[in-house]
């Protein structure tokens, strides 16, 4: 029983303390920069998705107009 308790204590001692490796360690400037980058990434993804849809639309229109069929 004692041995088990000691083992637990040793384990707790050796164990890394819980550290939140997240925004909590950022300064206000870093948080603002993170939000700016995330917004830029999201807009880029939105633009890429929109461009992809537009391209498929254009391909469909041109193919249907030129050949009367997609494939």
């Amino acid at each position: 029983m004692m041995a088990a308790a000691k083992k637990d204590a040793d384990y707790e001692k050796d164990r890394m303390p819980r550290v939140e490796l997240t925004e909590s360690q950022w300064s206000d400037e870093q948080k603002a920069e993170f939000l700016r980058r995330r917004r830029a990434r999201n807009f880029l993804l939105l633009a890429a998705l929109g461009g992809f849809c537009l391209m498929i639309y254009v391909i469909a229109m041109v193919k249907l107009h030129e050949y009367g069929q997609m494939w």
Binding site: M16, P17, V19, L21, T22, E23, Q25, W26, Q30, E33, F34, R37, R38, A40, R41, L44, F52, M55, I56, V58, I59, V62, K63, E66, M70
Partner: protein
């Protein structure tokens, strides 16, 4: 490992990365390599007989660029360990800590699939299949299989950069003709002297990373001979489209002049002042000049091919 973690824990300046800028994702696509790929792909499209709607042509070139970029992203994902060692590549997004490795791999795979599907929709299955093969060739056969195993990595891997002209041609015609195959062979045989000229003065980087480039494994003297021999092989090969009657005299004359100039540069590499181990005493000045000229060579040769077909 535990010490490292403890240090990080007590370091007040340590914070998780802030995330990547859009430019970092773009850098994953190797824009400089893509620009040459776009150029050769566009030439393949221009010289092909037949008609393609200009919009579809533009989308085909976009797909070639996207596929090449996607293969580049997969290459950066796999090579992240050696990229962190080589001075030339330490600033790439993954070793610089801007993009996570898994994210780069996912990005590469998604773009590969999109580029192949879009090309199949916009043009035909033949072009899409060649694009898929070229991505597989670069990402798997060259990057994963050959690059770290053999000093001949560049010779066989050269095929990866040779595909765009074939894809461009196939996008218009729906099949693969003799001219794009010859253009494929030209890029295939151009790649070794091009890359080995670079490797001659960047070999310390490759040696540090354990990449068996020819100068690292066989030495600089052997590499210089190989640069020269491949340039000699390239000369008649580059003339062959004209000799076979596939192009006219504009291309023939350009290929002759450029080929002679490339041999001159390769001769300079071979005759470079060296010590007894073959190490350059001129800081590889001729190799640097040959590397720069090799880019101009391919650009002008393909431009001449397009001009010849269009005039």
């Amino acid at each position: 490992m535990s010490n490292q973690v403890t240090d990080m824990r007590h370091d007040a300046s340590f914070a998780p990365p802030l995330g990547a800028e859009p430019g970092d994702w773009l850098a994953l696509l190797k824009p400089r390599v893509v620009s040459l790929v776009v150029f050769t792909g566009a030439i393949g499209l221009l010289i092909a007989p037949g008609h393609i709607n200009p919009l579809m042509g533009a989308i085909a070139i976009f797909c070639i660029a996207l596929g090449a970029g996607a293969a580049g992203a997969i290459n950066m994902w796999y090579d992240r360990d050696i990229d962190a060692i080589m001075r030339r590549t330490t600033t790439r997004p993954i070793p610089a800590g801007k993009i996570e490795a898994g994210g780069a791999l996912g990005f590469g795979i998604v773009l590969s699939v999109i580029s192949v599907l879009l090309l199949a929709m916009a043009t035909n299955l033949c072009a899409a299949a060649v694009l898929a093969v070229s991505i597989f060739y670069y990402a798997v056969i060259y990057t994963i299989w050959l690059k770290r195993r053999t000093p001949q990595n560049i010779v066989i891997g050269g095929g990866a950069g040779a595909f765009p002209a074939v894809i461009g041609w196939a996008a218009v015609t729906g099949h693969i003709g003799l001219l794009p195959v010859v253009l494929f062979l030209i890029v295939f045989f151009w790649t070794p002297p091009h890359f080995w000229s670079l490797a001659l003065y960047a070999s310390t980087d490759y040696e540090k990373a354990g990449v068996p480039m020819l100068p690292v494994v066989k030495g600089a003297r052997h590499t210089r001979w190989n640069v020269f021999i491949y340039t000699l092989i390239l000369f008649p090969l580059a003339l062959s489209p004209w000799l076979l009657g596939l192009t006219g005299w504009i291309y023939g004359a350009t290929a002759f002049v450029l080929g002679a100039a490339f041999i001159y540069y390769a001769w300079g590499v071979l005759r470079d002042a060296q010590d007894e181990k073959g190490v350059s005493l001129s800081k590889d000045k001729p190799a640097r000049a040959a590397f720069k000229f090799s880019i101009l060579y391919l650009f002008l040769l393909f431009a001449a091919c397009a001009v010849d077909r269009l005039v």
